[in-house]
């Protein structure tokens, strides 16, 4: 997919922001919607959102950068999240994470060179009774052992 140019981004973002602006506390819904539409929150979106909401660009940037979910750069074609929290640790999540990092050759938050997948840590998916847990583009996976992880890696690299 070719990167849309700045005017196109501006038009899309302005439409999203204008639609959601009447909400009480519209900024997070707008950032979520922009990220859903563009895959990330492009720098060009910030002044547009600021303009629609009558905020400074710095304020919008400050909010966006506070939250782990919002990304300034596009992610890989798939996003693999691996839970690193305690209940998963108790079931071997550290080993699962190490295996994933090695297989993909990236660090946390990193994207493989071919742009196939971004690896993210997550702190609890609410799947703590079937740990270790992972999520691939919103699909949940429980009891991730070596075999399940390898299948997930094959899937994201396919």
């Amino acid at each position: 997919m070719a990167e849309p140019d700045a005017t196109e981004i501006e038009a899309r973002v302005r439409a999203i922001a204008a639609e959601l602006a009447p909400l009480e506390g519209p900024l997070l819904p707008i950032l979520h919607a922009v990220q859903a539409a563009c895959g990330h929150v492009p720098a060009a979106a910030l002044p547009v959102i600021a303009d629609v909401l009558n905020l400074s660009r710095a304020e919008v940037y400050g909010v966006m950068s506070f939250y782990h979910d919002f990304r300034a750069e596009p992610a890989g074609r798939k996003v693999l999240k691996i839970c690193r929290a305690e209940a998963c640790q108790a079931m071997g999540a550290d080993a699962v994470a190490a295996r994933a990092l090695a297989a993909l050759g990236v660090d946390w938050h990193g994207t493989t060179a071919d742009g196939a997948v971004t690896l993210e840590p997550v702190y609890c998916l609410g799947l703590c009774a079937c740990a270790p847990a992972a999520m691939i583009d919103g699909r949940v996976v429980g009891r991730v052992d070596d075999a399940r992880l390898d299948a997930l890696i094959d899937e994201v690299l396919a």
């Binding site: 997070l28 108790a90 609890c124 609410g126 703590c128 009891r143």
Partner: protein, 512 residues
């Protein structure tokens, strides 16, 4: 004859293959020309048996589990009778039979998005009871039930509602805290996915009680399934007139919206949540002012956890005394304990307060999944203490856990076997605090980073650093604005106090 088959749509069941099982059931039924009504119910909470398939019989619902898609043809062959995976009547499974299901009475039983099912199983009874009552009477009922906040702090819900009901404001809000960030907890998720109308009903009742007309559910982004179900449930409730200009046709106005968080643990703290909902950075606010006086957009606001709110309908339906009849000391009613980590029988166990930690771990959970001895149990999420076996006689109760040097929090218990390294767990507690700190106070923001470094020094053999770690914990406890910085010392110090050998023994490898 139509077969009624239940395959949970809950995220934990799906994570274990429930969608594939549901698909196999449809395919097999089609292949055999059997008519099947397939219902994607919530989970009963016996996660080690998921996907748990139920079939309606003359004698009630019988269960099979854990079912893989490949097992489905054989289940049809057996006529959903005698089969190696047969578990008998689902409600007779000991883990389930020993519970007192009040808040989770319908979860797993019904089709989560069927209002008809909801009504048929006691849904809306609480709201109908509340509608003719004066607001003060509703508050009084909740007060008398003894309900305390299930989000962690255990603050009396009735008292919070009273404060908001007496506060003046042009508009008041009911905000449901569905940020559920604690590791080892999933009760909120399970309820929202399995019985979403119960939460909606609880929020409407709260609105009637305090004079609020608008509600928000702040739901964490890590729960896509719960987000989808809650959105759908709110739409259905609005179309059915449970929400809108006149609640149930005759009441005052109340409407609500679902808002999605953005991956910040600290946004579970109520004032940080309010800032986030307003579209700001999720930085913690100093109190006072209390959210009850100046909350969302500066207006009087109730902030309650999912389970607190979802427990309200049954309290109104059956009376304060019924609810208060369960429990121990000042902890009244039931608590949905979430059993997680290295356990044989993981899942949700709702029971009156008073069960001991040991009974839950050894008896209900059946010990560890690995079959090795239990070393430690972390109770109450990442800010909760690690309990050694010597403290397993502690009964579930707010005061009782406090007295034992811990906290209940949102009632998650995470079990570790004897291979756990408690220094590593202490290091993680500091690391997590450093990652998630909102940055407002130095003891938390800087202290947690120093904490990781100090644990690494101990790991490298510098036992003198143990005293430093203790002092650092004191500073964090005394100098932090909220419980993220203030309670991180619980897991750290409990690990150090109860498992000192993990901090002094020579280590095989240096800490990563």
């Amino acid at each position: 004859m139509t077969l009624r088959i239940y395959v949970p749509g809950d995220a934990a069941a799906r994570a274990l293959g429930a969608d594939e099982v549901a698909q196999a059931v449809r395919a097999e039924a089609a292949r055999r020309g059997v008519t099947v009504t397939l219902i994607r119910n919530g989970t009963r909470g016996m996660v080690w048996l998921e996907p748990l398939v139920e079939v309606e019989t003359a004698a009630g619902r019988t269960a099979f589990g854990p079912v893989r898609a490949a097992d489905v043809p054989a289940l049809f062959d057996a006529g959903f009778g005698d089969h190696a995976l047969a578990l008998g009547p689902v409600e007779d499974i000991p883990f389930f039979a020993r519970q007192t299901r009040l808040t989770f009475a319908r979860c797993g039983l019904t089709d989560p998005l069927s209002l008809e099912d909801y009504r048929a199983h006691g849904g809306l009874d609480g709201l109908r009871a509340a509608l003719p009552m004066a607001p003060g009477e509703i508050v009084q009922t909740v007060t008398e039930s003894g309900l305390r906040g299930r989000g962690g702090a255990g603050f009396p819900t009735g008292l919070k509602w009273k404060t908001v009901s007496e506060a003046e404001g042009p508009r008041k809000y009911i905000i449901c805290n569905a940020d559920e960030g604690d590791s080892g907890t999933f009760a909120d998720r399970m309820l929202m996915e399995g019985d979403p109308f119960a939460l909606i009903e609880g929020m409407v009742i709260a609105g009637l009680a305090v004079g609020a007309t608008r509600g928000y559910v702040y739901l964490r982004s890590e729960y896509p399934d719960a987000i989808r179900v809650m959105h759908a449930a709110v739409d259905i409730a609005r179309r059915a007139g449970i929400l809108g200009a006149h609640v149930l046709g005759t009441g005052p106005a109340f409407d609500m919206e679902i808002r999605v968080g953005a991956g910040a643990y600290v946004c579970g703290e109520e004032t940080s949540l309010l800032n986030s909902l307003e579209g700001k950075r999720g930085v913690v606010r100093a109190k006072p002012p209390l959210p009850a006086h100046q909350g969302f957009l500066g207006r009087p606001t109730v902030v309650n956890n999912v389970i607190s709110l979802a427990s309200v309908p049954v309290i109104l339906a059956r009376g304060a005394q019924h609810y208060a009849g369960f429990g121990l000391g000042r902890s009244r009613g039931t608590i949905p304990v979430q059993i997680a980590g290295n356990v044989k029988h993981g899942g949700l166990f709702e029971a009156g307060f008073g069960m001991t930690l040991g009974a839950l771990v050894d008896d209900i959970a059946g010990g560890t999944a690995t079959g090795r001895p239990v070393k430690a149990v972390q109770v109450g999420g990442p800010l909760g203490a690690y309990f050694p076996r010597e403290k397993f006689d502690t009964p579930f109760g707010y005061e009782e856990f406090d007295g034992a040097g811990g906290l209940i929090g949102h009632a998650g218990i995470v079990v570790f076997d004897d291979q756990a390294d408690m220094l590593k767990q202490a290091r993680f507690a500091m690391e997590f605090c450093a990652i998630e700190s909102c940055g407002k106070c130095t003891p938390c923001r800087i202290g947690a980073v120093r904490g990781v470094e100090t644990v690494d020094r101990i790991a490298a053999g510098d036992t003198a650093a143990i005293g430093l770690l203790t002092e650092l914990c004191d500073t964090m406890r005394d100098g932090s604005l909220c419980a993220l910085g203030g309670f991180t010392p619980y897991p750290v110090m409990s690990a150090l106090t109860h498992f000192p050998e993990d901090f002094t023994a020579p280590r095989k490898e240096a800490a990563e």
